[in-house]
Amino acid sequence: MRRLGLTLAVVLVVLFCTGPFLWQLLTSLRPENELTSLDFPSSLTLESYRSVLTGRPFARSVLNSFLVASATTATSLFFGATAAFALAKLEIRGQRFFLGMALLASMFPGVAVVSPLYLTVRALGLRDHLLGLVLPYTTFALPMAVWILSGFFRAIPDEIYRAAIIDGCSPFQAFRKIMLPLAAPGLGTTAILLFISSWNEFLYALALTSSARSRTVPVAIGLFSGDHKEPWGEIAAASVVAMLPVILVALVFQRWIAAGLTTSAGKQ
């Protein structure tokens, strides 16, 4: 009886979480004249996908989003990991201050700096340019990366770092050969978080891009709406397509997390 209740609860939670996604998927496969119907579709069609991928520069947007998110993630991960390692394991004056600032910066409401950022990016000549997105994204992703990763580096016992130093490593060698592999789960987690937040970002992308050349997925989908009708089928199809790279990235970094769980430095 209790098992049955538990199973039911699990099914409900799963439905609650996947429901919107499944609805989206169903909508993307409906024939156009049944888009607003609540019944099951009379037939399934890939027409919406065809029109999104051929009728609009949507593939370009997916590529843009992927490039921007990857570059942001890679840059933030590299500088974030080195900074977090230094803050967690090296003797640095004011570590708490730096970490506090990182936390503050990563929680800063982005909307407050849209206009100054717009002016800065325009002054740099990066408006409507992918780099003009990577730069502001990194300023938000990097503090978050430092904050999350410093926790993971702190969790690695000091004696392991000292052992590496005693064994002849320079601090950077100890970082690269010992600390970084041991922080892999943290890197994986952080990478997924950074990639998703950059992938989903709408506000700056809307403000800082003006053409399909540099438009990212959320903005592209947002601009699907015409004057007279909402292309629900296409929006649904585009959303489904936009989800795929994120799932792919999550699967890739998941392996780091899993690999880390089997080699964790904690209780040996």
């Binding site: 000292r162 005693i166 064994d167 002849g168 490593c169 041991l182 080699t263 040996q268």
Partner: protein
């Protein structure tokens, strides 16, 4: 081999009392020197100073005749075995042991030969392909030893390396460590809170308490002629009896008329039951503990407890009458004010 010398070392951290005060000690080249003391006595801090993880507040550290205060741990070239072993969890046993050689850019063939040699010596050659997490505590401890010894450094530092092992394994590794020291030619500086490790393995013992050196001497001397009541109480098991002279009916002419603290070890007190024979001190049995080969009996005499030895078949109940016969020639006297040893 290298000698290590600490001269007038002081260490205090930004907050709080000094951790080390006026530490002067010499570790002769090739010696096995043990720093022993209760937790918080500063022994690990001394090891960290020698390793280079921390800097002294004042004073000099010499390796042979060179001051190494400003040298990084890497450039001091010492090997170290940590209490937690600090193995690299993501590397297998082979790569753990090979790691310091790889960092030093030693050739592949030589690395292989040296790793296999030390692994065979430590009897861990069957586990070379395993990860640390798949090893028992004793095996991990051997891997940690292997990683330190494979480098053939002139100086090896040990930070309580045996304290996480179970007692029988610890006993075995004590003997192994002593052998390894005799076989190799490096200087060992060893930190422990276990006085038995200090007594069994070292050439010299440094007893520390409260950041101050209490005594530096070979194990026999620390045991036979403890410099003060702290050393007397810390070294030796079962613990030395520290009592008033009147309790043991020590004649005043023996103590020069003063009333010092008397220290007498349980092996210098014979205990028996029944009516006290001539020249013994009567008391009541507080507790008797059978040790197998003998019985340790604690008597209550004049309000103080005195532990001595009795034959294995003497197993009195608490409260029974007993007596103690002292070997006063082996008693130690300590000044009650300074707690320092009084020579006689």
């Amino acid at each position: 081999m290298i000698s290590v010398r600490l001269a007038r070392i002081e260490k205090s951290f930004t907050r709080g009392a000094p951790v080390l005060q006026d530490i002067n000690l010499e570790v002769p080249a090739g010696a096995f020197v043990t720093l022993v003391g209760p937790s918080g006595c500063g022994k690990s801090t001394i090891l960290n100073l020698v390793a280079g993880f921390e800097r002294p507040t004042s004073g000099e550290i010499f390796f042979d005749d060179e001051i190494v205060n400003d040298r990084s741990p890497k450039d001091r070239g010492a090997a170290m075995v940590f209490q937690s072993y600090a193995l690299y969890p993501h590397l297998d046993v082979y790569r753990n042991i090979a790691f310091p050689l790889e960092v030093a850019n030693v050739g592949r063939a030589e690395i292989d030969a040296r790793v296999r040699e030390i692994a065979a010596r430590l009897e861990i050659d069957r586990f070379l392909a395993r990860r640390p997490r798949d090893l028992s505590g004793g095996q991990r401890q051997r891997v940690a030893l292997g990683r330190a010894l494979v480098r053939r450094t002139k100086l090896c530092l040990f930070d309580e390396p045996l304290s996480n092992l179970d007692p029988s394994l610890r006993e075995h590794m004590r003997a192994e460590l002593k052998r390894l020291h005799e076989e190799g030619d490096s200087t060992y500086l060893y930190v422990t809170h276990d006085q038995i490790e200090a007594l069994t393995m070292s050439d010299q013992i440094v007893v520390l308490e409260g950041g101050v050196v209490q005594q530096i001497a070979p194990p026999r001397e620390v045991y036979e002629r403890p410099a003060n009541t702290f050393v007397a109480g810390f070294i030796g098991s079962p613990r030395i009896n520290l009592v008033r002279p009147a309790t043991l009916r020590i004649p005043p002419e023996l103590t020069g008329g003063r009333a010092p603290i008397v220290g007498i070890r349980p092996e210098d007190i014979a205990i028996g039951g029944g009516p006290p024979p001539e020249g013994t001190i009567p008391g009541r049995v507080y507790v008797a503990e059978s040790m197998g080969a003998e019985t340790l009996v604690t008597l209550e005499i004049a309000g103080e407890r005195v532990t001595g030895r009795a034959p294995a078949d003497f197993l009195p109940r608490s409260g029974e009458v007993g007596w103690a016969r002292l070997n006063l020639a082996r008693a130690h006297f300590f000044d009650p004010l300074t707690t320092k040893r009084i020579e006689r």
